[in-house]
Amino acid sequence: MPTLVFDGIAYGMLLFILAVGLSVTLGLMNFINLAHGAFAMLGGYLTVAFTQRLGVPFVPAILLAFLATGLVGAVLERLLYRPMYQRSHLDQVLFSIGLVFMSVAATDWLVGSQQQNIHLPGWLQGRSEFGEGALGMGHYRLFIIAVCALLVLGLQAILSRTRFGARLRASVDDARVAAGLGIDVNRVFSLTFAVGSGLAGLGGALGAEVLGLDPSFPLKFLVYFLIVVAVGGTSSVTGPLLAALLLGLADVGGKYFIPKLGAFIVYALIIALLLWRPNGLFSRGGSGR
């Protein structure tokens, strides 16, 4: 049982890193970006390429994946995304789902459709048992939890302590008034989009071992990202974090206790949850976004 909770937390932390960028872009620009998972996939494949083709050690490789994905995100934001902000939600859905399909087909063409494996360094393999098998902690999952916890603390500190965080929060709350106060909302957004994409890439790099990595990744996990955002709301770091942890625990628990139904539990839970609170569990309500 403790092992399940542990795995669920690791899984949830991973989902948080993958989805947190999406929650900010949705909150900031009210932009429905279904292509967020494509950045995560890019991060995963870059890590595979760095570690296996170029022989980069694991930790620098995921850092490189973070930077590269963030860079790609920044370029795409400038070229493709920016004209889409003022458009209808239907246009945004068409645009971003098109991007997803292109990334899936392009990856299939470039690398092939087989599962990719990431070779973990020795110090991340194996697991520790405590209390006669009551709690088994995989070292890699421990690593994930540690990295994600550091990231959560870092993001929270940036959001609440720094000048940039204040600007970002102001822009999310009301972009027009923020612009009126002299905040360059577009630049705040570019930077946030790049960091969010980079975090997705980092999540994809870290998660390749746990979630699996093949060209259908952006479609397979699309609904998970949306769940984190829709349930967690877009106004804080803690909302998506709690939502991601809940989702991770529900998914791992559901698959363990009722394997027959698999992901069914999660989907049913989400539909019920959104019936009850259409604007998410942790949103401040009223905005109707």
Partner: protein, 321 residues
């Protein structure tokens, strides 16, 4: 409102096009199955038009109802009786009931919530159909349904001429029905709800029940489309619930233009022909070109990509917001 002469011209054009379509399977027997499939998919696009074009509900999981109709009709043919029309009615009824029940999920919340919920619903059904493989056949698909003769007389032939005529007839009737509904006062209230729910409520339109009606009606037609595909191909696979199918139908509707009854049908024909051409060249990477097309439509705007000449005309009032 169109003028009376316009309406006659419209009837003539539509009548002529359908006459051509009905003739196709008999003139080109090798294309009969393609015609049957296109007609079924066109019906699916028409059903999404009701939901998206007329009620303004952005759905990324409309395949849920398509799949339910397909499995209902397939299982009915396999387990109960092989009569196609009864099977079609069963498919429609099951999908309509489910649409009515699920309309609760799209009444509240934002576009994001609706996208989420509709997507989750189709994935949930995919998962169910996959797990309960004793009934549905799981990943192998539902096989072994034998279709009885249509109206007790016309056997379904392997070449697909009878199925094609059957699918076209159902599409034609559905088109007439939808046309009649959206031109009725009820249809006018639907448009009012789509354009501004607050104002619609203020003038006394029951917004929730209108949305529920449009959603259930759209679900019923999607169920009919699914039943047609199951019956004409004699096979149902898990793919009927996939997100690709929901995205395909969205693309068809957008190609043809949402918010007018012929949009879905025209878009479906264009999409299928395009699919046939491109997939003939690069079958494996069709999704790439489809994605590029979706991206271009989203980026440049539906009007500019699909109807370049519309730029010089007065601005359209049909665009979905």
């Amino acid at each position: 409102m169109l003028l009376a002469t316009d309406r006659w011209r419209e009837r003539l054009i539509v009548g002529f096009l359908f006459a051509v379509a009905f003739g196709l399977p008999w003139l080109m027997p090798s294309r009969a199955l393609f015609v049957a499939e296109t007609a079924s998919v066109a019906l699916f696009a028409l059903s999404l038009d009701l939901v998206l074009g007329y009620a303004g509900i952005v759905s990324l999981g409309h395949a849920a109802f398509f799949g339910v109709g397909a499995y209902a009709a397939g299982l009915f043919a396999k387990l109960v009786m092989p009569d196609p029309l009864t099977g079609l009615a069963v498919g429609i009824a099951v999908a309509a009931l489910m649409g009515l029940a699920c309309s609760l999920t799209i009444l509240r919340g934002s576009d994001l919530t609706r996208i989420m919920v509709t997507l989750a619903l189709s994935l949930l059904l995919y998962e169910l159909a996959n797990r309960f493989d004793a009934i549905t056949g799981g990943a192998d698909g539902l096989q072994g349904m034998a279709m009885g003769p249509l109206l007790g007389r016309f056997e379904f032939d392997l070449q697909g001429q009878v199925p094609a005529t059957y699918a076209l007839a159902v599409l034609f009737l559905a088109l007439l029905l939808v046309q009649w509904v959206v031109r009725s006062p009820l249809g006018a209230t639907l448009l009012a709800v789509r354009d501004n729910p607050l104002r619609a409520a203020a003038v006394g339109i029951p917004v929730a029940s209108r949305l529920a009606f449009a959603y259930a009606f759209g679900a019923a037609l999607a169920g009919a489309a699914g039943a047609l595909v199951a019956q004409t191909s004699g096979f149902v696979s898990l793919e009927v619930f996939s997100i690709e199918r929901s995205a395909d139908v969205l693309l068809m509707l957008v190609i043809g233009g949402a918010g007018w009854v012929y949009g879905g049908v025209l878009g479906a024909v264009a999409f299928k022909v395009l699919n046939e051409l491109v997939a003939g060249i690069t079958p494996q990477y069709w999704t790439f070109w489809m994605g590029l097309f979706l991206l271009a439509i989203g980026l440049l705007g539906r009007e500019r990509v699909l109807r370049p000449w519309a730029l010089w005309q007065r601005p359209s009032t049909k665009a979905v917001r």
